[in-house]
């Protein structure tokens, strides 16, 4: 059941497809396909190619670099990028802090930061979670105390993805302890190269080191780096979460992973025949495909509403919930498809520089780590239980 595309949209799709075919470096595509680790340079290289095309920030207002695409075009773009095996555009600048700066930042902030997001001059990271705060985000304790023209920041953030690459962090800090805990939070932009910032990697169960603890020890941040008003940061953070949840639906990525399931299942044998011919396995794939069609249909509604000026509300929690459930199901299908060769685990095998012969089929090494790693998706960005709480309260009034 393909999307019904009008001729203009079909032409657009062909244009995007051609771009991906011609401009995505083969080496990067290969890494994504096999599931090898991407390094900072891979992301930056690709993002600059996309930016050169003018497609870096489709969702932004045109005046700041947006493309003015329709919702369906934005969706086509995301889908084609994923299907082509391109790395995802890091969301921290484009999908997270960018929209917040556009909506709540001052002119100086817009002029300084937005172009640097387009060119990936700044790599951003997100400073929300703290040790101990977990799902109760508003209980955060990192303090920012005004000292002349600076805030002095002390505290710690955790689960910070890609902090090791980051130039800047958008960070929720406590500037007041009066009133409700949500009321004393501010939204601060912190230079990660400042003295007093320390990044320590956290090794995850899959052996990965993409997330970090970040410690602040008397870090001085100019007050000009405050976004919006002091103590209003919670509002901006919630605005951002709506955008994030739309982004986490990630339909294109799931469709790409499903095609990977098909490819692997075509090579894996069961009693001498391809696993892909097994009716029970086919049904499992079909089930996910249909789930994905339904999710995509809801996503298109949300994008259309957004384009009509209605930013995603609490219903967007549905996208995060179902999106991550589907992503996790696909990691299970991949795991099942690979069978015995999920066991071997040579950490270096996922590094780009590893030159030894693969153990078992070349696609096998990344599969089990991905399954384990992807358990995070129902925890981060507001756990799936929290998403249900949000819908229960804000949509159903329970």
């Amino acid at each position: 059941m393909e999307l019904k595309l009008n001729p203009a949209d079909a032409a657009f799709r062909d244009e995007v497809r051609a771009f991906m075919r011609d401009k995505l470096p083969a080496e990067i595509r290969h890494k994504v396909e096999i599931g090898l680790k991407l390094v900072k340079d891979d992301y930056v290289t690709w993002q600059r190619i996309v930016n050169a095309q003018g497609w870096m920030v489709p969702g932004w207002p045109v005046e700041f670099g947006g493309t003015g695409w329709s919702p369906i075009q934005r969706h086509i773009f995301n889908e084609e990028m994923a299907l082509a095996g391109a790395p995802r555009i890091m969301p921290f600048g484009v999908a997270m802090v960018g929209p917040v700066i556009i909506a709540f930042g001052n002119d100086a902030q817009k002029q300084h930061y937005l172009p640097r997001i387009l060119t990936t001059e700044d790599w951003w990271c997100q400073g929300y979670s703290e040790p101990g705060s977990g799902s109760d985000l508003a209980s955060l304790k990192t303090r920012a105390v005004r000292d002349g023209e600076h805030y002095v920041v002390n505290g710690a953030k955790t689960w910070t993805s890609f902090a090791q690459y980051a130039d800047m962090m958008f960070c929720l800090v406590r500037t007041s302890t009066e009133g409700k805990k949500q009321a004393g939070i501010s939204f601060l932009l912190i230079d990660m190269h400042s003295p007093g910032v320390e990044v320590r990697p956290i090794t995850t169960l899959d052996g990965g080191q993409e997330i970090n603890d970040v410690f602040f020890d008397d870090v001085r941040v100019p007050v000009t780096n405050l976004v919006g008003e002091e103590n209003k940061g919670w509002t901006y953070a919630k605005y951002l979460l709506g955008h994030e949840r739309t982004w986490t639906a990630d339909v294109g990525q799931s469709r790409n992973q499903l095609s990977r399931v098909r490819k692997i299942a075509a090579e894996e044998l069961v009693d001498g025949r391809p696993l892909l011919d097994d009716p029970a396995f086919q049904l499992k794939i079909a089930e996910v495909e249909i789930d994905l069609l339904a999710l995509e249909a809801v996503l298109l509604q949300v994008l259309a509403a957004e384009a009509a000026g209605n930013p995603p509300g609490p219903e967007a929690s549905l996208l995060k919930l179902r999106g991550t459930e589907i992503q996790q199901t696909i990691t299970e299908l991949l795991f099942e498809a690979v069978g015995n060769y999920t066991h071997p685990f040579v950490g270096d095998a996922l590094e780009a520089g590893w030159n030894e012969e693969p153990i078992g089929p070349d696609y096998a090494a990344a599969i089990a780590p991905r399954y384990f790693n992807w358990r995070k998706s129902s925890i981060y960005g507001g756990s799936n239980e929290i998403q249900k709480n949000i819908i229960a309260k804000a949509v159903l009034g329970l």
């Binding site: 393909e2 009716p279 339904a294 509403a305 229960a392 949509v395 159903l396």
Partner: protein
């Protein structure tokens, strides 16, 4: 999250929902179900006046030339009212067959009375052994001069007993389950050799077992290509499948609303039961299933309305049926569970919505059947 509707569609939706709210209370429906016909001919004429019967039929014959999306809008509203009038059998099935397969004479003769509410149809296509396979036809049609003689038995023919005209699938050649060799025939409900045994269905509608013993029909009773009716049947059933999925969306919406309301008002252990997190999340699961279903069903309707490719239409219909089958089970079962003992009673409307939702789940093939069909159609 709302489906983007055109102005006309919004008007249609409003008028249908207004009708349900004002004139189609659950008590009224209960009375209708208890009558012999099992529905109201007054309502049927009302539907005709409102233009609903001709919504998706050719403008040349008095219809509105609407698309499957228009039909979905109407069906969702009818689902909200748990409407028992024979829209499916007369309009979606027979109307669809006439629209896509009738010749000019047949359309001119049959569509206007259908649109005006003057005649009722039923489509007799399933047989005892056929299950959901539309090509599994053992009823035979033997050439007889210019006409045909039909022999066989049709089962679970929705509205088969009260229909003025039956459309019957029969095999003119080939083996059982061959797609080739199937024809459709228009047969008067009271033709010689037709015997019908009507009965209520568990969701408050009516079906019939129809026996055909040496039923002679003339040559112009043939509807669609001789021996080549399978694609026509498949198309109409695919369209009707999406239409009943839209009906199911309306049913689900009522169940979700009723359940959320119940959670807010019913008290246990000194609090509304909606304060219990487990029940809150259950209600969220129901809500999400509803939203995903509605979005997918309208997308399927759009796809089918715009597609000339039978496989693409089939995939869309089967995807919708899978989604509705799964979501319907979840929503129906949980609506009962969350209503506790009350949900089990005939008195509360919830149990009737649950039953209709369940039966839509199995009508034209259950979720597992359609999942297999979707798979067999390949990756489109």
């Amino acid at each position: 999250m709302d489906i983007a509707l055109s102005e006309e569609q919004q008007l249609l939706k409003d008028s249908a929902e207004r009708f349900i709210e004002r004139d189609y209370s659950f008590d009224r429906r209960r009375q209708l179900v208890a009558t012999e016909d099992g529905f109201s001919r007054d309502n049927w004429r009302r539907f005709a006046e409102l233009g609903w019967l001709g919504l998706a039929l050719p403008a040349d014959h008095g219809g509105l030339d609407g698309s499957l999306v228009d039909t979905a809008v109407l069906m969702e509203a009818l689902g909200r009212g748990l409407v028992v009038e024979p829209f499916l059998s007369s309009v979606l099935l027979a109307g669809g067959l006439l629209r896509h397969g009738g010749n000019a004479d047949q359309q001119a003769a049959l569509i206007p009375p259908l649109i005006k509410g003057g005649s009722l149809f039923a489509f007799a296509f399933t047989e005892r052994q056929s299950r959901y396979n539309l090509a599994d036809v053992e009823t035979t049609a033997r050439a007889n001069g210019d006409g045909y003689v039909l022999n066989g038995a049709k089962g679970v023919v929705m509205r088969g007993a009260s229909a003025d005209k039956l459309i019957v699938s029969a095999r003119v050649s080939g083996d059982s389950r061959d797609r080739a060799g199937i024809s459709l025939f228009l047969v008067d409900g009271d033709a010689a050799g037709v015997s019908r045994r009507g009965y209520p269905t568990i969701d408050g509608l009516h079906g019939a077992e129809v026996a055909l013993e040496g039923v002679a029909v003339s040559g112009d009773a043939l509807l669609g290509p001789a021996g080549g009716a399978f694609p026509l049947i498949e198309r109409v059933i695919d369209e009707a499948s999406v239409a009943i999925c839209a009906e199911a969306v309306g049913v689900m919406a009522v169940l979700v609303d009723a359940t959320v309301d119940y959670l807010k008002t019913r008290e246990q252990f000194g609090s509304p039961i909606g304060s219990f997190q487990v029940l809150q999340h259950r209600a969220v699961d129901m809500f999400n299933a509803l939203e995903l279903s509605r979005a997918l069903v309208y997308r399927a309707a759009e796809t089918i309305a715009a597609s000339d490719d039978a496989a693409n239409r089939a995939r869309a219909a089967s995807a919708a049926k899978v989604q509705i089958g799964r979501a319907g089970r979840l929503i129906g079962q949980q609506a009962i569970q969350l209503h506790g003992g009350m949900g089990m009673t005939d008195e509360l409307s919830v149990s009737h919505y649950f039953k209709r939702l369940t039966m839509i789940g199995t009508l034209f093939g259950d979720a597992d059947y359609h999942l297999k069909r979707y798979t067999a159609l390949g990756n489109g």
